[in-house]
């Protein structure tokens, strides 16, 4: 237990540093604005900026804004990987019970498994463990609310979006899983005792030197895997930005029901590499996207994409895949509308 406790304290400490840094920055900025001083953007994009510079400037803007938060997010992701034993979570996904939905929703994101092991784990939960419903919940919740994504949402957009994302993404994942279970699981399967997940949890003692070394290795692995994709993603956003005008965005993605439905379906089909959905939504918000469509996109974007659905359809019937995609699309709309009701507007500084 000592090892886990140490990990949790470490994570809370990093989170504390991050939150106070961000809030202090925001506080300082708002004080300056009160005095009538507007902080200067170090890499401004103006109407007369040559178009080919826009992607590079966008990249620089995000690097100056997000380097601290991204660094902290990687430190935390590495700490979770090192100190939170996956076996402990998966063990609880080995039995059919209503509890399994909550473990899948809350524990899934802590597993931070690499994308190639998500599908085997999904198949394992479905066939040998808690069944179809929790497996779907796991599949949808894991990418949508991984800790790094939540931290970056908090830092780049706002804490309201971060909270909204956690609550609505978890609810959407649990509801979708439960509906799928009700539609597709036969009586026999419910009775059948298949639980055979052979997952043993062995407690490891705390060994400060080795554990910290492992932590650093894990953090570096995350950086190597994710950072290049994030840079590329932001660069592409910069290219897309050249072609988008605020008239187009506020017409098609402004506040409203149809706009939310459109944003939600875009999230279902589009492939957004992890973390890139956040600067993407931020840019669109600046250009006039409504808060409802923005949250709808954050709900469905990371959870679903055509490539991941194709992968899953190797394990379950494609009709089920289509089924959960439609339910997630609808949950995205509902979630977006609820969020737009509570947070009708947002100021980005």
């Amino acid at each position: 237990m000592k090892r886990i406790a140490f990990g949790i304290i470490l994570i809370i400490l990093i989170l504390g540093v991050l939150v106070s840094y961000e809030w202090y920055g925001a506080f300082k900025k708002s004080k300056l604005i009160e005095k009538g001083i507007f902080p200067k953007e170090p890499f401004p994009i103006q109407p007369n900026t040559p178009w080919w510079q826009i992607p590079f400037l966008t990249l620089l803007q995000y690097l100056t804004k997000a380097w601290f938060c991204l660094g902290m997010a990687f430190l935390i992701a590495g700490a979770i990987e090192t100190f939170i034993p996956k076996e402990l979570i998966i063990k609880h996904l080995g039995k059919r019970s209503p509890k399994a939905y909550f473990i899948a929703a809350f524990g899934g994101p802590l597993l931070s498994v690499c994308s190639c092991s998500v599908i085997p784990l999904f198949a394992a939960i479905k066939k040998r463990g808690a069944g179809l419903g929790p497996a779907i919940t796991f599949l949808l919740a894991t990418p949508a609310i991984n800790p790094a994504a939540i931290i970056l949402t908090f830092s780049l957009i706002s804490w309201k979006f971060a909270i909204g994302r956690i609550i609505l993404a978890l609810s959407a994942a649990i509801i979708t899983g439960a509906i799928l279970e009700a539609i597709w699981t036969t009586e026999e399967e419910k009775k059948g005792i298949l639980s055979q997940l052979k997952v043993e949890y062995q407690e490891k003692p705390l060994n400060l030197k080795d554990d910290l070394k492992e932590w650093v290795t894990n953090v570096w692995d995350f950086v190597k895997k994710i950072f290049p994709l994030v840079l590329l993603g932001i660069f592409i956003i910069g290219i897309v930005k050249i072609f988008l005008t605020s008239q187009v965005i506020s017409k098609y993605l402004g506040q409203g029901f149809w706009q939310t439905a459109l944003a939600s379906i875009l999230g279902v089909v589009m492939y957004t590499p992890t973390l890139v959905e956040i600067p993407f939504v931020r840019e669109l918000l600046v250009l006039g996207m409504g808060t409802g469509p923005a949250l709808a996109f954050l709900l469905t974007g990371p959870a679903l994409s055509l490539p991941s659905m194709l992968g899953v359809s190797r394990v379950i019937n494609w009709k089920m895949v289509l089924n959960y995609a439609v339910i997630m699309w609808i949950s995205g709309i509902i979630g977006g509308l609820i969020f737009a009701h509570w947070v009708p507007q947002i100021k980005l500084i």
């Binding site: 996956k86 076996e87 998966i90 498994v113 690499c114 190639c116 092991s117 599908i119 085997p120 784990l121 198949a123 394992a124 939960i125 066939k127 040998r128 463990g129 055979q196 997940l197 052979k198 997952v199 190797r314 394990v315």
Partner: protein, 81 residues
């Protein structure tokens, strides 16, 4: 004896396969074979939840992580020698 490596073919399981082969080679074990199982269905049949995984015969030695060469050598010494 047969060492099974389970995983869908991503860099992680390739690394594990390389580690296992290296361990066998360094100990000079001629009758130990390393086999890689890519099929997700088969992996699940064996009761493994997390890839990459390594099995000695029917016994799961590790899953969801990449054991180092030294660790695999340790297991080999326990079981074979």
């Amino acid at each position: 004896m047969l060492i099974k490596i389970l995983g869908s073919g991503c860099p992680n399981c390739q690394k594990l396969e390389a580690n296992a082969k290296k361990a066998v080679e360094e100990l000079g074990l001629k009758d130990v074979k390393v086999e890689h199982i890519y099929d997700v269905d088969k992996v699940i049949e064996m009761g493994v939840a997390m890839t990459p995984a390594i099995m000695f015969g029917d016994e799961i030695k590790a899953q969801g992580r990449i054991p180092e060469v030294e660790e695999i050598k340790g297991w080999l010494q326990e079981t074979v020698l």
